[in-house]
Amino acid sequence: MDILQSLMQGFATSLTFSNILAALVGAGLGIIVGAIPGLGSVTGIALLLPLTFQMDPITGIIMLGALYYGCMYGGSYSAILLNIPGDAPAVVTSLDGYPLSQQGHGGKALFTANISSFIGGTVGIIMLTFMGPILAHVGLMFGPAEVAALILLALCSIGWLLGDNPLKGLISTFIGVMLATIGIGTAFGQPRFTFDSMYLLNGISFIPLVIGMFGFSQVLVMMVNRVDPSAKGLSGRLGLKESLLDRKEALSILPVSLRSGVLGNLVGILPGAGATTGSFLSYVLEKKVGRNGDELGKGRIQGVAASEAGNNAAAAGSFAPLLSLGIPGSGTAAVLLGGLMMWGLQPGPLLFQNNPDFVWGLISSMYLGNVMAVLAALAIIPFLVKLLLIPASIMIPVIAVVCVVGSYSVNNSMFDVWFMLGAGVVAFFMTAARYPIAPLLLAFVLTPRLETSLRQALDISRGDPMIFLRSPIAATLLTLILLFVLYPLAKRLFMTVRRRGHKAAAE
C-alpha cells in the first residue's frame, strides 16, 4: 500500500500542465532523434540535458524520461521502413520489420512496434515500481561469471537461430567477434589489429558499421532489385485503416509483448547487459516458445513485438539499479546519472528516503512519458508509411546520403564515412553469398562485455575456470548453452537415423 500511496503522490507531483507539456515535447523530440540513423537516446539526452538545467528538476527529468521513451519508439522506424536500424536493439526489429515493409505491411509493423513498445514499457515500469529495489539486488547477484555465461548463451543462440543456413550464421557470429577485438579493449588495455592506425585505436564504431552493413548494402541491392510501389499495389495498403491490427493480430501480439516485457525488464536490470541483449533474448524466447516461432525472420508481427517489447522493458529495467544503487544499467542511464548529480541528487539507497518526491515523481513520469510517446508515435504512422511510396529513383540517392551523414555525425570523422562505405560493399557481397549479417552485428555488440566479464571472472578466481560451475546461476546458463548447441545436432542425428530406418523398411 505504501508503494501505491507514494506512486499516487508522485502522480500528484507530475500531473501538472507544465509537466505534461514537457513530456509531450520530450516524447516528440525523442521520436525524431530516435528515428534519425546514427543518433540514439544517449545523444538525445546529452543534447537536451543542458536545456533542462533551467527547469525545475522534476520537470527536467520528466522531459528527459519522455525523450528516452520517444527514442525507443523512434529507433524502430528506420529499421522497419528502410532497413537501417537507428540503434543496436533495432537490429533485431529489422529482422521481421523490414520484410513486413517489403510485403506492403509497413504500417502494421509500425503499429505493432508502437503497441508492443507501450506494453513492454508498461510491464517494465510496473515491475520497476513494485520491485525496483528487489530487482536491483537481483541484478547485483549477476557478477562477472554470470554475465559472461548470459552473454555466451546469447552468442551461442545467434548462429543457430538466424538465417536458413546455421553454419553460415555461426561463421558470421565468429566474424562479428573478430571485428569486436579490434582496438584497445577494456579487458586488456592492449591495442589489437590496429595496424598502427590511430582511427582503429578505439575499435570499430558500431553506428557506421551497422549503417553500412544494413543501410548502404540495401542501397546496392535496390540498384538492381527495384520495387515499384505502384506496381506492387502498395498504395492501396498504406492507409491508416490498413495499418491497424485486426482483433486476431492484436490478440496474437499481447502474450508475446507481455512475456518479452518481463524477460526484457529482468535483462535490463543486469549491469551492462543493456537493451540489445534484452531485445535479442526476447526474440530468441519467442522463436523457441512462440506459436509461429519457425516463421520469425520472414516478416511476422510477433517478431517485431518481441523485439520492441523486450527493448522498452529493458530501458525501464535499467533505471532500477540507477535509482536504488546509483549504478547505471545502460549508457543512457549513465548520462541521466550525470544529470541527477548536477541537480544535487545522489542516486543510491538513500534517494528513496531523502528525496521521495523526486523518485516517485520520476517513476510516475515514466508512465506519463510512455503514454505520451505512444500517442505521438501512433499519430505520425500515416505520414511515415507514405515513405514507402517514394520510388527507388529518389530513395537510392537519399538513403545513400543519409548513410553518409549519419555515420559522420557520430564522431565527426571522415574515417567513419569511408568505413561505412567499405562495410556496405563487404556486407553486400556477404549477403549475396548467403552469409546473414544480423548475427555478425549482434556478436559485435555483445563481445566487449563478454571479454571483460570473462577476464574479470577469471581474475577473481585466480584463473580457476570452476568459478563458472560454482555459481548456480552461471552453471544453469552454461547447461542451457549446452542444450542450445546439442539440440540441433541431436535433432539432425535423430532425423537421419529415422530416415535411414524408413528407407531400410521400404527396401
Binding site: 579493449g185 589489437r192 540498384m223 557481397f429 549475396a432
Partner: protein
C-alpha cells in the same frame, strides 16, 4: 540486410560464394596467427588478449573450409550495376574536402537523379535542394554537427 531480409533470390555467379568464403578463411587465419604470436592466448591466470582472436579465427577458418569442401555454393544474382552507388558515393565523399559535406551530398543527389535515373533537371535540383536543406537544418543547425566546410565554401563562411 541479412539474408532473412531478402526476397527469394535468383541463383547467380558461382564464383562469388567460394570467393567470399575464401576471404573469411584468410581473415580467420590472420586473426588466429596474430592472436597466437603477437597477443598471447593465455596469461598466468586467464585468457590473454589473443584468446578470442585465436578461438574465433580458427573457428571461422575451420567452418569456412568445411563450407568450401562441401561445395554447396549458393549465390544471389549480382551485377556490376549493383556497385554503381558505391563508386558514385566514393567520388562524392572524395569531393567533400572541396565542396564541404552538405554541398557534396546535394550535388550527389542532383547528379545521380539527373544522370543515372534520367529524371528532369528541375525535379533533381528540387529534391537535392530539399534534402541538402533538411540535412543542414537538422544536423548542422539543430544538432550542431561540425560538417567539413570544403575549400570552395571557406571564403563564404
Amino acid at each position: 540486410m541479412s539474408s532473412v531480409n531478402q526476397e527469394p533470390a535468383h541463383e547467380g555467379r558461382s564464383w562469388l560464394s567460394p570467393l567470399v568464403t575464401l576471404g573469411i578463411i584468410v581473415m580467420g587465419l590472420a586473426w588466429a596467427g596474430f592472436g597466437w604470436w603477437k597477443y598471447g592466448v593465455w596469461m598466468h591466470n586467464g585468457p590473454g588478449a589473443g584468446f578470442f582472436p585465436v578461438v574465433m579465427g580458427l573457428g571461422a577458418a575451420l567452418l569456412g573450409s568445411y563450407e568450401l569442401l562441401r561445395r554447396r555454393f549458393e549465390t544471389d544474382r549480382v551485377s556490376w550495376r549493383n556497385l554503381w552507388p558505391a563508386v558514385a558515393m566514393g567520388l562524392a565523399i572524395a569531393s567533400i574536402p572541396l565542396f564541404g559535406m552538405v554541398l557534396a551530398m546535394t550535388l550527389f543527389i542532383v547528379l545521380w537523379m539527373a544522370l543515372i535515373e534520367r529524371q528532369s533537371w528541375l525535379k533533381s535540383v528540387a529534391i537535392g535542394a530539399c534534402a541538402g536543406g533538411a540535412i543542414y537544418l537538422l544536423f548542422g543547425m539543430w544538432l550542431m554537427v561540425a560538417f567539413p566546410e570544403g575549400a570552395l565554401m571557406a571564403p563564404f563562411t
